[in-house]
Amino acid sequence: MKPDRQVGIVGYGAYVPRYRLPAVEVSRVWTGGQGGVPIEEKSVPGLDEDTATIAIEAARNALRRGLVDAQDLRAVWVGSESHPYAVKPTGTIVAEAIGATPAVSAGDWQFACKAGTEALQAAIGLVGSGMADYAMAIGADTAQGRPGDALEYTTAAGGAAYIVGPRERSLAYLEGSYSFVTDTPDFFRRPYRHYPEHGGRFTGEPAYFKHITHSVQALLEELRLEPADFAAAVFHQPNVKFPQRVAQMLGFNKEQIKTGLLAGQVGNTYAAAAMLGLTAVLDVARPGDRILLASFGSGAGSDAFSLVVTEAITERQALAPFTRAYVARRKQIDYGVYVRYRHKLEMH
Protein backbone atom coordinates (compact mmCIF):
# COMPACT_ATOMS: atom_id res chain seq x y z
CA MET A 1 0.00 0.00 0.00
CA LYS A 2 1.17 3.50 -0.79
CA PRO A 3 -0.55 6.80 0.01
CA ASP A 4 -1.16 9.41 -2.72
CA ARG A 5 1.03 11.90 -0.88
CA GLN A 6 4.48 10.65 0.11
CA VAL A 7 4.95 10.46 3.87
CA GLY A 8 7.52 9.44 6.42
CA ILE A 9 8.45 9.35 10.08
CA VAL A 10 9.15 12.91 11.20
CA GLY A 11 9.82 12.13 14.86
CA TYR A 12 10.09 9.09 17.09
CA GLY A 13 10.43 8.43 20.80
CA ALA A 14 10.79 5.52 23.16
CA TYR A 15 10.12 4.76 26.77
CA VAL A 16 10.98 1.75 28.96
CA PRO A 17 10.26 1.65 32.72
CA ARG A 18 13.15 1.37 35.13
CA TYR A 19 12.43 -1.93 36.86
CA ARG A 20 13.61 -5.37 35.63
CA LEU A 21 12.49 -8.83 36.66
CA PRO A 22 15.00 -11.52 35.66
CA ALA A 23 13.26 -14.51 34.06
CA VAL A 24 15.07 -16.81 36.47
CA GLU A 25 13.05 -15.20 39.28
CA VAL A 26 9.83 -16.49 37.69
CA SER A 27 11.49 -19.85 37.20
CA ARG A 28 12.70 -19.88 40.81
CA VAL A 29 9.19 -19.37 42.15
CA TRP A 30 7.20 -21.55 39.77
CA THR A 31 9.46 -24.36 38.51
CA GLY A 32 12.09 -24.60 41.21
CA GLY A 33 14.57 -23.08 38.80
CA GLN A 34 14.20 -26.02 36.38
CA GLY A 35 14.11 -25.57 32.62
CA GLY A 36 15.17 -22.80 30.28
CA VAL A 37 13.87 -19.24 30.17
CA PRO A 38 12.78 -17.35 27.02
CA ILE A 39 14.51 -14.04 27.83
CA GLU A 40 17.06 -12.65 30.25
CA GLU A 41 14.80 -10.14 31.99
CA LYS A 42 11.70 -8.04 31.44
CA SER A 43 10.75 -4.46 32.20
CA VAL A 44 8.22 -3.85 34.95
CA PRO A 45 6.26 -0.61 35.32
CA GLY A 46 6.58 1.29 38.58
CA LEU A 47 3.59 1.78 40.88
CA ASP A 48 2.93 5.19 39.32
CA GLU A 49 3.14 4.06 35.70
CA ASP A 50 0.52 2.84 33.26
CA THR A 51 -0.05 2.89 29.53
CA ALA A 52 -0.96 6.59 29.59
CA THR A 53 2.19 7.72 31.41
CA ILE A 54 4.37 5.50 29.23
CA ALA A 55 2.72 6.87 26.08
CA ILE A 56 3.17 10.46 27.31
CA GLU A 57 6.93 10.13 27.74
CA ALA A 58 7.37 8.37 24.38
CA ALA A 59 5.22 11.08 22.75
CA ARG A 60 7.26 13.90 24.29
CA ASN A 61 10.43 12.28 22.98
CA ALA A 62 8.90 12.03 19.51
CA LEU A 63 8.01 15.74 19.58
CA ARG A 64 11.57 16.62 20.59
CA ARG A 65 13.05 14.68 17.69
CA GLY A 66 10.38 15.79 15.26
CA LEU A 67 10.77 19.50 16.05
CA VAL A 68 7.01 19.59 15.63
CA ASP A 69 4.69 21.85 17.61
CA ALA A 70 2.16 19.61 19.37
CA GLN A 71 -0.54 22.02 18.20
CA ASP A 72 0.20 20.90 14.63
CA LEU A 73 -0.72 17.28 15.35
CA ARG A 74 -4.11 16.31 13.97
CA ALA A 75 -4.22 12.87 15.55
CA VAL A 76 -2.93 11.26 18.73
CA TRP A 77 -3.74 7.56 18.57
CA VAL A 78 -2.69 5.06 21.20
CA GLY A 79 -2.57 1.34 20.50
CA SER A 80 -2.59 -0.90 23.56
CA GLU A 81 -4.19 -3.88 25.24
CA SER A 82 -3.80 -2.29 28.68
CA HIS A 83 -5.55 1.07 28.50
CA PRO A 84 -6.05 2.47 32.04
CA TYR A 85 -9.79 2.92 31.51
CA ALA A 86 -12.28 0.50 29.96
CA VAL A 87 -14.26 3.56 28.86
CA LYS A 88 -12.37 6.85 28.49
CA PRO A 89 -9.68 7.27 25.91
CA THR A 90 -5.99 7.14 26.71
CA GLY A 91 -5.53 9.31 23.63
CA THR A 92 -7.16 12.35 25.24
CA ILE A 93 -4.91 12.10 28.30
CA VAL A 94 -1.81 11.90 26.12
CA ALA A 95 -3.00 14.66 23.79
CA GLU A 96 -3.71 16.99 26.72
CA ALA A 97 -0.39 16.21 28.43
CA ILE A 98 1.70 16.95 25.33
CA GLY A 99 -0.27 20.09 24.51
CA ALA A 100 -1.97 18.80 21.35
CA THR A 101 -5.58 19.60 22.30
CA PRO A 102 -8.14 20.66 21.19
CA ALA A 103 -7.88 20.66 17.36
CA VAL A 104 -6.93 17.01 17.18
CA SER A 105 -8.39 13.54 16.75
CA ALA A 106 -7.59 11.29 19.70
CA GLY A 107 -8.52 7.72 20.39
CA ASP A 108 -7.44 4.22 21.26
CA TRP A 109 -6.69 1.23 19.09
CA GLN A 110 -6.95 -2.41 20.07
CA PHE A 111 -5.33 -5.30 18.19
CA ALA A 112 -3.26 -7.12 20.81
CA CYS A 113 0.43 -6.59 20.00
CA LYS A 114 -0.12 -4.78 16.71
CA ALA A 115 -2.47 -2.08 18.00
CA GLY A 116 0.34 0.45 17.65
CA THR A 117 1.21 -0.36 14.04
CA GLU A 118 -2.50 -0.41 13.19
CA ALA A 119 -2.54 3.21 14.43
CA LEU A 120 0.60 3.83 12.36
CA GLN A 121 -1.12 2.54 9.22
CA ALA A 122 -4.03 4.87 9.91
CA ALA A 123 -1.69 7.82 10.53
CA ILE A 124 -0.03 7.12 7.19
CA GLY A 125 -3.46 7.19 5.58
CA LEU A 126 -4.46 10.42 7.33
CA VAL A 127 -1.32 12.28 6.32
CA GLY A 128 -1.02 10.51 2.98
CA SER A 129 -4.50 11.58 1.98
CA GLY A 130 -3.73 15.21 2.73
CA MET A 131 -6.24 15.45 5.59
CA ALA A 132 -3.44 16.29 8.01
CA ASP A 133 0.21 17.29 7.98
CA TYR A 134 1.13 15.47 11.18
CA ALA A 135 -0.35 12.51 13.05
CA MET A 136 1.02 10.63 16.03
CA ALA A 137 0.76 6.86 16.44
CA ILE A 138 1.78 5.26 19.73
CA GLY A 139 2.17 1.67 20.84
CA ALA A 140 2.30 1.28 24.63
CA ASP A 141 1.49 -1.47 27.08
CA THR A 142 1.79 -2.74 30.61
CA ALA A 143 1.16 -6.38 29.79
CA GLN A 144 0.02 -8.90 32.40
CA GLY A 145 0.73 -12.63 32.52
CA ARG A 146 -1.03 -15.05 34.81
CA PRO A 147 1.25 -16.06 37.71
CA GLY A 148 3.08 -19.23 36.78
CA ASP A 149 1.99 -19.12 33.14
CA ALA A 150 4.55 -19.20 30.32
CA LEU A 151 3.59 -15.60 29.51
CA GLU A 152 4.71 -14.37 32.92
CA TYR A 153 8.36 -14.70 31.92
CA THR A 154 7.97 -12.14 29.14
CA THR A 155 4.97 -9.81 29.65
CA ALA A 156 6.56 -6.39 29.98
CA ALA A 157 5.97 -2.66 29.70
CA GLY A 158 7.18 0.00 27.30
CA GLY A 159 6.15 2.43 24.64
CA ALA A 160 7.12 3.97 21.33
CA ALA A 161 5.65 6.98 19.54
CA TYR A 162 5.92 8.06 15.92
CA ILE A 163 4.95 11.28 14.21
CA VAL A 164 3.97 10.71 10.60
CA GLY A 165 4.38 13.73 8.34
CA PRO A 166 5.33 14.82 4.83
CA ARG A 167 8.26 12.95 3.26
CA GLU A 168 10.26 16.14 2.79
CA ARG A 169 10.33 16.68 6.58
CA SER A 170 10.96 13.05 7.46
CA LEU A 171 13.81 11.22 9.16
CA ALA A 172 12.78 8.10 7.30
CA TYR A 173 10.34 8.05 4.40
CA LEU A 174 7.84 5.29 3.72
CA GLU A 175 8.32 3.18 0.61
CA GLY A 176 5.20 1.12 1.21
CA SER A 177 3.27 -0.95 3.73
CA TYR A 178 1.16 -4.08 3.77
CA SER A 179 -1.35 -5.54 6.23
CA PHE A 180 -2.24 -9.24 6.43
CA VAL A 181 -5.11 -10.26 8.74
CA THR A 182 -7.18 -13.39 9.41
CA ASP A 183 -9.50 -14.42 12.24
CA THR A 184 -7.11 -16.60 14.23
CA PRO A 185 -7.91 -16.91 17.97
CA ASP A 186 -4.40 -17.63 19.19
CA PHE A 187 -4.58 -15.27 22.20
CA PHE A 188 -7.41 -13.30 23.76
CA ARG A 189 -8.74 -11.73 26.94
CA ARG A 190 -12.45 -11.57 27.68
CA PRO A 191 -14.11 -8.51 29.29
CA TYR A 192 -13.52 -8.10 33.04
CA ARG A 193 -10.75 -10.70 32.99
CA HIS A 194 -7.34 -9.66 34.25
CA TYR A 195 -5.21 -12.22 32.43
CA PRO A 196 -5.28 -13.36 28.81
CA GLU A 197 -5.69 -16.91 27.51
CA HIS A 198 -3.46 -18.26 24.80
CA GLY A 199 -3.25 -21.29 22.56
CA GLY A 200 0.20 -22.43 23.65
CA ARG A 201 2.06 -23.78 20.63
CA PHE A 202 -0.83 -22.64 18.40
CA THR A 203 0.49 -19.07 18.83
CA GLY A 204 3.46 -20.05 16.65
CA GLU A 205 2.93 -21.57 13.20
CA PRO A 206 -0.67 -20.57 12.32
CA ALA A 207 -0.42 -17.21 14.07
CA TYR A 208 2.95 -15.45 14.45
CA PHE A 209 4.90 -17.13 11.65
CA LYS A 210 2.11 -17.33 9.09
CA HIS A 211 1.02 -13.71 9.42
CA ILE A 212 4.48 -12.13 9.51
CA THR A 213 5.82 -14.19 6.60
CA HIS A 214 2.77 -13.32 4.49
CA SER A 215 2.88 -9.58 5.24
CA VAL A 216 6.61 -9.28 4.65
CA GLN A 217 6.69 -11.42 1.50
CA ALA A 218 3.80 -9.48 0.00
CA LEU A 219 5.46 -6.15 0.82
CA LEU A 220 8.78 -7.24 -0.67
CA GLU A 221 7.04 -8.44 -3.84
CA GLU A 222 5.12 -5.16 -4.14
CA LEU A 223 8.30 -3.12 -3.76
CA ARG A 224 10.48 -5.57 -5.75
CA LEU A 225 12.93 -5.79 -2.88
CA GLU A 226 15.00 -8.60 -1.40
CA PRO A 227 16.02 -9.11 2.25
CA ALA A 228 19.58 -8.19 1.30
CA ASP A 229 18.36 -4.70 0.34
CA PHE A 230 17.69 -3.89 4.01
CA ALA A 231 20.22 -2.57 6.51
CA ALA A 232 18.00 -3.67 9.39
CA ALA A 233 14.78 -5.52 10.09
CA VAL A 234 12.58 -5.44 13.17
CA PHE A 235 9.99 -8.10 13.89
CA HIS A 236 7.46 -8.41 16.68
CA GLN A 237 9.33 -9.94 19.58
CA PRO A 238 7.30 -11.93 22.11
CA ASN A 239 10.58 -13.64 23.01
CA VAL A 240 14.00 -13.92 21.39
CA LYS A 241 13.51 -17.13 19.40
CA PHE A 242 10.41 -16.18 17.38
CA PRO A 243 11.90 -13.10 15.68
CA GLN A 244 15.17 -14.94 15.08
CA ARG A 245 13.33 -17.81 13.41
CA VAL A 246 10.98 -15.68 11.32
CA ALA A 247 13.96 -13.63 10.15
CA GLN A 248 15.70 -16.81 9.04
CA MET A 249 12.54 -18.08 7.30
CA LEU A 250 12.31 -14.81 5.34
CA GLY A 251 16.02 -14.68 4.45
CA PHE A 252 17.24 -11.99 6.89
CA ASN A 253 20.48 -12.61 8.77
CA LYS A 254 21.32 -12.14 12.45
CA GLU A 255 23.21 -8.92 11.85
CA GLN A 256 20.13 -7.31 10.28
CA ILE A 257 17.93 -7.99 13.33
CA LYS A 258 20.50 -7.52 16.10
CA THR A 259 20.00 -3.82 16.90
CA GLY A 260 16.21 -3.95 16.95
CA LEU A 261 15.88 -7.13 18.98
CA LEU A 262 15.35 -5.90 22.54
CA ALA A 263 13.14 -8.70 23.91
CA GLY A 264 16.02 -10.40 25.72
CA GLN A 265 16.58 -7.29 27.86
CA VAL A 266 13.07 -5.79 28.16
CA GLY A 267 10.68 -8.66 27.42
CA ASN A 268 7.56 -8.48 25.30
CA THR A 269 6.25 -4.94 25.45
CA TYR A 270 3.23 -6.00 23.38
CA ALA A 271 1.88 -3.09 21.29
CA ALA A 272 5.25 -1.38 21.73
CA ALA A 273 7.45 -4.38 20.93
CA ALA A 274 8.25 -3.98 17.23
CA MET A 275 7.85 -0.19 17.37
CA LEU A 276 10.32 0.02 20.26
CA GLY A 277 12.77 -2.13 18.34
CA LEU A 278 12.53 0.33 15.46
CA THR A 279 13.41 3.25 17.76
CA ALA A 280 16.65 1.44 18.70
CA VAL A 281 17.45 0.97 15.00
CA LEU A 282 16.68 4.62 14.16
CA ASP A 283 18.93 5.75 17.04
CA VAL A 284 21.96 4.44 15.14
CA ALA A 285 20.66 4.53 11.55
CA ARG A 286 22.54 6.32 8.79
CA PRO A 287 21.10 8.15 5.79
CA GLY A 288 20.20 5.72 3.04
CA ASP A 289 19.56 2.76 5.36
CA ARG A 290 16.47 0.78 4.38
CA ILE A 291 14.60 -0.66 7.37
CA LEU A 292 11.85 -3.27 7.56
CA LEU A 293 9.30 -3.15 10.38
CA ALA A 294 6.92 -6.10 10.78
CA SER A 295 4.51 -6.30 13.70
CA PHE A 296 2.29 -9.15 14.80
CA GLY A 297 -0.91 -8.96 16.76
CA SER A 298 -2.82 -11.94 18.04
CA GLY A 299 -6.26 -12.39 16.68
CA ALA A 300 -4.36 -12.18 14.25
CA GLY A 301 -2.45 -10.02 11.81
CA SER A 302 0.79 -8.38 10.79
CA ASP A 303 1.63 -4.93 9.41
CA ALA A 304 4.83 -4.57 7.41
CA PHE A 305 6.53 -1.29 6.49
CA SER A 306 9.57 -0.41 4.42
CA LEU A 307 11.35 2.81 5.39
CA VAL A 308 14.39 4.60 4.01
CA VAL A 309 16.39 6.85 6.34
CA THR A 310 17.03 10.43 5.20
CA GLU A 311 19.85 12.90 5.77
CA ALA A 312 17.79 14.65 8.47
CA ILE A 313 18.21 11.83 10.96
CA THR A 314 21.77 12.56 12.05
CA GLU A 315 20.97 15.89 13.68
CA ARG A 316 17.79 14.63 15.39
CA GLN A 317 18.84 11.31 16.94
CA ALA A 318 20.33 12.88 20.07
CA LEU A 319 17.45 15.28 20.73
CA ALA A 320 15.79 12.75 23.06
CA PRO A 321 17.05 9.85 25.19
CA PHE A 322 18.32 6.89 23.18
CA THR A 323 16.41 3.65 23.55
CA ARG A 324 19.58 1.94 24.75
CA ALA A 325 19.75 4.49 27.59
CA TYR A 326 16.28 3.45 28.74
CA VAL A 327 17.27 -0.22 28.45
CA ALA A 328 20.47 0.39 30.42
CA ARG A 329 18.59 2.33 33.12
CA ARG A 330 17.64 -0.70 35.19
CA LYS A 331 16.85 -1.57 38.77
CA GLN A 332 16.51 -5.25 39.39
CA ILE A 333 13.62 -6.42 41.53
CA ASP A 334 12.68 -9.82 42.90
CA TYR A 335 9.44 -11.70 42.45
CA GLY A 336 7.98 -10.32 45.69
CA VAL A 337 8.40 -6.68 44.62
CA TYR A 338 7.12 -7.61 41.16
CA VAL A 339 3.97 -9.10 42.72
CA ARG A 340 3.38 -5.82 44.55
CA TYR A 341 4.13 -3.59 41.57
CA ARG A 342 1.84 -5.58 39.26
CA HIS A 343 -1.02 -5.65 41.79
CA LYS A 344 -1.06 -9.42 42.08
CA LEU A 345 -1.65 -9.30 45.85
CA GLU A 346 -5.21 -9.78 47.04
CA MET A 347 -5.86 -7.97 50.33
CA HIS A 348 -8.52 -9.82 52.36
Partner: protein, 132 residues
Protein backbone atom coordinates in the same frame (compact mmCIF):
# COMPACT_ATOMS: atom_id res chain seq x y z
CA UNK B 1 -10.23 14.97 43.83
CA UNK B 2 -13.62 15.68 42.29
CA UNK B 3 -14.13 15.70 38.54
CA UNK B 4 -14.45 19.48 38.20
CA UNK B 5 -11.27 20.18 40.11
CA UNK B 6 -9.41 17.49 38.20
CA UNK B 7 -10.47 19.02 34.90
CA UNK B 8 -9.79 22.61 35.99
CA UNK B 9 -6.22 21.86 37.07
CA UNK B 10 -5.19 19.15 34.62
CA UNK B 11 -3.06 21.32 32.32
CA UNK B 12 -1.08 22.47 35.34
CA UNK B 13 -0.67 18.93 36.65
CA UNK B 14 0.03 17.17 33.35
CA UNK B 15 2.49 19.59 31.85
CA UNK B 16 3.61 22.25 34.36
CA UNK B 17 1.51 24.97 32.81
CA UNK B 18 1.89 28.10 34.94
CA UNK B 19 1.89 31.82 34.31
CA UNK B 20 4.02 34.89 33.71
CA UNK B 21 2.91 38.07 35.46
CA UNK B 22 2.06 40.78 32.90
CA UNK B 23 3.02 43.49 35.37
CA UNK B 24 6.31 42.39 36.95
CA UNK B 25 7.22 39.67 34.42
CA UNK B 26 7.98 37.02 37.04
CA UNK B 27 7.13 33.35 36.55
CA UNK B 28 4.28 31.94 38.65
CA UNK B 29 3.51 28.33 39.52
CA UNK B 30 0.85 27.16 40.10
CA UNK B 31 -1.43 29.72 38.41
CA UNK B 32 -2.98 32.28 40.75
CA UNK B 33 -5.51 35.11 40.53
CA UNK B 34 -2.97 37.59 41.93
CA UNK B 35 0.77 37.60 41.34
CA UNK B 36 2.55 36.44 44.54
CA UNK B 37 5.42 38.84 43.72
CA UNK B 38 3.64 42.14 42.96
CA UNK B 39 0.00 41.29 43.92
CA UNK B 40 -1.28 42.55 40.57
CA UNK B 41 -3.93 40.62 38.64
CA UNK B 42 -3.43 39.49 35.07
CA UNK B 43 -1.12 36.76 33.90
CA UNK B 44 -0.27 34.95 30.68
CA UNK B 45 -0.11 31.16 30.54
CA UNK B 46 3.32 29.60 30.06
CA UNK B 47 4.62 26.05 30.06
CA UNK B 48 7.66 25.51 32.25
CA UNK B 49 10.55 23.50 30.84
CA UNK B 50 10.43 20.82 33.51
CA UNK B 51 14.07 21.04 34.62
CA UNK B 52 15.14 21.98 38.11
CA UNK B 53 16.91 20.74 41.21
CA UNK B 54 16.01 19.32 44.59
CA UNK B 55 15.82 22.21 47.08
CA UNK B 56 14.85 20.02 50.03
CA UNK B 57 13.20 16.65 50.56
CA UNK B 58 11.60 14.25 53.04
CA UNK B 59 11.06 10.51 52.85
CA UNK B 60 7.49 9.41 53.50
CA UNK B 61 6.98 6.02 55.09
CA UNK B 62 3.54 6.62 56.62
CA UNK B 63 1.61 8.16 53.77
CA UNK B 64 -1.74 9.97 54.04
CA UNK B 65 -4.94 8.28 52.88
CA UNK B 66 -4.96 7.76 49.13
CA UNK B 67 -1.20 7.48 48.83
CA UNK B 68 -0.41 4.45 51.01
CA UNK B 69 -0.17 2.22 47.95
CA UNK B 70 2.92 4.11 46.85
CA UNK B 71 4.85 4.31 50.14
CA UNK B 72 7.70 4.61 50.82
CA UNK B 73 8.26 7.61 48.56
CA UNK B 74 10.08 10.92 48.64
CA UNK B 75 8.47 14.36 48.58
CA UNK B 76 10.69 17.22 47.52
CA UNK B 77 10.73 20.95 47.07
CA UNK B 78 11.83 21.46 43.48
CA UNK B 79 13.43 24.72 42.38
CA UNK B 80 12.57 25.07 38.70
CA UNK B 81 15.18 26.54 36.37
CA UNK B 82 12.77 29.41 35.72
CA UNK B 83 12.57 30.17 39.44
CA UNK B 84 9.36 28.89 41.06
CA UNK B 85 9.58 26.47 43.95
CA UNK B 86 7.03 23.66 43.98
CA UNK B 87 6.27 20.50 45.92
CA UNK B 88 6.29 17.17 44.13
CA UNK B 89 7.03 13.52 44.59
CA UNK B 90 10.27 12.10 43.27
CA UNK B 91 10.08 8.91 41.22
CA UNK B 92 12.45 6.38 39.63
CA UNK B 93 15.07 7.01 42.30
CA UNK B 94 16.28 5.11 45.35
CA UNK B 95 15.89 7.05 48.61
CA UNK B 96 19.57 6.66 49.37
CA UNK B 97 20.48 8.49 46.15
CA UNK B 98 18.40 11.63 46.80
CA UNK B 99 20.40 14.71 47.69
CA UNK B 100 19.90 18.47 47.84
CA UNK B 101 20.93 20.07 44.57
CA UNK B 102 20.25 16.92 42.52
CA UNK B 103 19.24 17.85 38.95
CA UNK B 104 15.76 16.56 38.16
CA UNK B 105 13.29 16.60 35.27
CA UNK B 106 9.50 16.50 35.19
CA UNK B 107 7.60 13.38 34.19
CA UNK B 108 3.86 12.83 34.14
CA UNK B 109 2.88 9.95 36.37
CA UNK B 110 -0.05 8.52 38.26
CA UNK B 111 -0.52 10.44 41.51
CA UNK B 112 -3.27 8.21 42.86
CA UNK B 113 -6.45 6.36 41.98
CA UNK B 114 -9.79 7.42 43.43
CA UNK B 115 -10.74 3.82 44.33
CA UNK B 116 -11.67 1.03 41.93
CA UNK B 117 -14.52 3.01 40.39
CA UNK B 118 -12.97 6.45 40.45
CA UNK B 119 -10.63 8.45 38.30
CA UNK B 120 -6.94 7.92 37.84
CA UNK B 121 -5.27 11.17 38.89
CA UNK B 122 -2.23 12.03 36.75
CA UNK B 123 0.25 14.77 37.49
CA UNK B 124 3.84 15.89 37.62
CA UNK B 125 6.61 14.15 39.48
CA UNK B 126 10.35 14.58 39.14
CA UNK B 127 13.14 12.09 38.52
CA UNK B 128 16.92 12.34 38.16
CA UNK B 129 17.79 13.89 34.79
CA UNK B 130 18.52 11.16 32.24
CA UNK B 131 19.03 13.26 29.11
CA UNK B 132 21.22 16.31 28.66
Amino acid sequence: MNVARYWRTEKTRYGLVGETCRVCGKPIFPPRDLCPHCTEAGQDLRTFGGRGEVYSFAHVTDAPAGYTEYQPYTVALIKLEEGPLLTAQLTDVDQSDVRIGMPVEMVTRKLKEEGENGMVVYGYKFRPVMHE
